[in-house]
């Protein structure tokens, strides 16, 4: 049991360090550095060289990387030359915004996507089922990028909800801040959640249809158990696993989707921060963003494994032990 847990932790650590190191090295190889991108053309050679020396950009690549790794070992992610702030708190703040967006979108997608699947699976020929299938097909074809642009148009034209940003009022705290953020959530959440809800609906409907064909269900029917009970107590359990199995992939898709939604709706999350850091060659900030992204992803993968374990008792022995340990 502890060995499994250790291996899992080691894999997470490897992913986080590996991904952020790769981002660090790739960005270092890129032409230009943070001093040149932020100082502009007017700065003299000497000024640039001084600034480069001050933040240690004139050292060899391996030395810089080693120094950064040593910092990471002490949980010090360095300083962003672009924002003149420590990377840790900056990245944590933005990653939290992205996590909020992704989590709410995930929950909304579950709530919107799973219930209709029961209609499409149990009464596939009804009018409602046809409508749901068409809606699913359309939403499935509406990627977050296109969806967010369309929703911005709706928001800007009607003024029903804000078209961008995460807050509009400044200097508010507590309940007022919470209300303000909630008020800005619908647009980016809808753009992220709608295609995902359609995916859930298709997956769940397919799994339910297959489950209803199984001998166990036939046996239950033969014993005279009413159909609603069969669906609710037996078929659904059989159909849980295929849906749980994609949860891991969903997290990757949510992160990818949130990148572009953040760009379109000006949501101050990890996506925009990564983009700015990359374009300004802010090495330590790029690495910090990559580390945060990898960490979010690892947590997502862990949750996905937990979901699979929960949905299939046979897997529970293997995976749940790590989770509980």
């Amino acid at each position: 049991m502890p060995a499994r847990l250790l291996r899992r932790l080691a894999a997470t650590l490897l992913l986080v360090v590996g991904v952020s190191s790769a981002a660090f090295l790739v960005t270092h190889l890129a032409p230009g550095d943070v001093v040149q991108t932020t100082m502009g053309f007017s700065a003299s050679q000497a000024t640039i060289a001084r600034a480069q020396h001050r933040i240690g950009l004139d050292r060899p690549l391996l030395v810089q990387w080693g120094a950064w790794l040593a910092g990471v070992a002490r949980l010090d992610l360095g300083t962003s030359a672009l924002y003149q702030r420590p990377v840790g708190p900056l990245v944590a703040e933005r990653a939290l915004n992205t996590a909020l967006l992704a989590t709410v979108a995930f929950l909304v997608a579950l709530m919107l996507g799973i219930p209709p699947a029961f209609i499409t699976a149990t009464r596939p020929r009804s009018l409602a089922a046809h409508l749901i299938r068409v809606a699913s097909l359309v939403l499935l074809s509406l990627p977050p990028f296109v969806g967010s642009l369309a929703l911005v148009l709706v928001a800007a034209r009607t003024g029903w909800f804000p078209a961008g940003g995460m807050t509009s009022a400044e200097d508010v705290t507590g309940v007022a801040l919470l209300a303000d953020v909630l008020w800005h959530l619908p647009l980016p959440v809808a753009a992220l959640a709608l295609p995902l809800a359609a995916t859930f609906e298709r997956l769940q409907a397919q799994a339910l249809t297959e489950a209803l064909d199984q001998p166990a269900i036939l046996a239950a029917r033969a014993r005279g158990i009413p159909e609603p009970t069969i669906v609710r107590r037996h078929a659904w359990r059989l159909a849980l696993k295929p849906v749980a199995a994609v949860a891991g992939l969903v997290f990757g898709a949510l992160l990818s989707g949130s990148f572009v939604v953040e760009m379109v709706t000006a949501w101050p999350g990890l996506g925009r921060l990564t983009y700015d850091a990359l374009l300004h060659r802010d090495l330590e900030l790029v690495a910090g963003c990559a580390a945060a992204g990898a960490l979010v992803l690892s947590v997502g993968l862990l949750l996905a494994d937990m979901a699979i374990a929960w949905s299939d008792p046979r897997v529970r022995v293997h995976v749940a032990s790590e989770v509980r340990a």
Binding site: A150, G164, T199, V260
Partner: protein
Amino acid sequence: MSARRGAAGLLALLMLLAIAAPFVSPQDPSERFPDLPDAPPTPLRLFTAGGQWCGLCFHPQRLVSRLERRFEIDTTAPVPVHLFSRGRLIADSGDPGTPLLLAGTDASGRDVFARLIFGARASLGVAIIAVLGAVALGLTIGGLAGARGGWVDTWLMRLADAIAVLPAIYVVVTLRAALPLVLPVATVFALITLLLAVVGAPWIARGVRAIVSVERTLGHVEAARALGASSTRILLQHLLPATRGFIMRQAALLLPAFVLAEATLSFVGLGLPDTVPSWGTSLQEAANVSAIAAFPWLLAPAGAVFLVTLLVNVALGEHDADRVL
């Protein structure tokens, strides 16, 4: 069944339109009409505003206020529209003062419809070549892993999983941002195609490997081996053909994903340069809320991305559960 055929047919028609862009589009995609910035679409009409039959014509627009982008429709002299004249499908009189603007213009007065049709060349071109690249790469990696087994299999699949688990758009954006921002168009084109092929390949490689490693144990392969067929021959003649159905499906699923990826990359400024009309570069102007609200026709390329995705999804039919991207 017929809906699927129809969707596939429409998709083919779309590609034909892209190929025949100079014939289909009434305007040149890079021609600027300086007196018609952000002009709204002009509707084609059969009757003039006075109710007189005019065959096929439109009323030209005149700029009233450049600052407010206010236009006035000039109903005094309708401009006739000719089919199959001047080497175009739909041609206006050729007077640069009164162009036919089916989908309006962008801020520099370029015809949005022309950029949409010509943009299909770049957008679909990048996507199709990237799909071919991903299939080639995926077949090689998956085939090798499945046919060889052992440590080759283990390491190739670990590599594929490592790429597949990362949010694709972050990988592409990071790698693209690491290279010089301004490059020759052909280089950018090749680069984007290559990046997309690399992030798409693992999805194909995984499936190919699974099919090949099962197929390898079947009787006909054993028989071929007993007859002295070389391992290359077995792979090419007996193993890879089994993956054809899977490859077709995956290739079809990757197409809209890559169209979307090009649009996203170009939208954030990391894709094709603005001089090349593509759906992504055309969307750059729709990057702020006020532009979207005032000139919604700028979103037409987003509609094109949606249409391609929808057509592929309809053409693939019911079982679209294996996609989460």
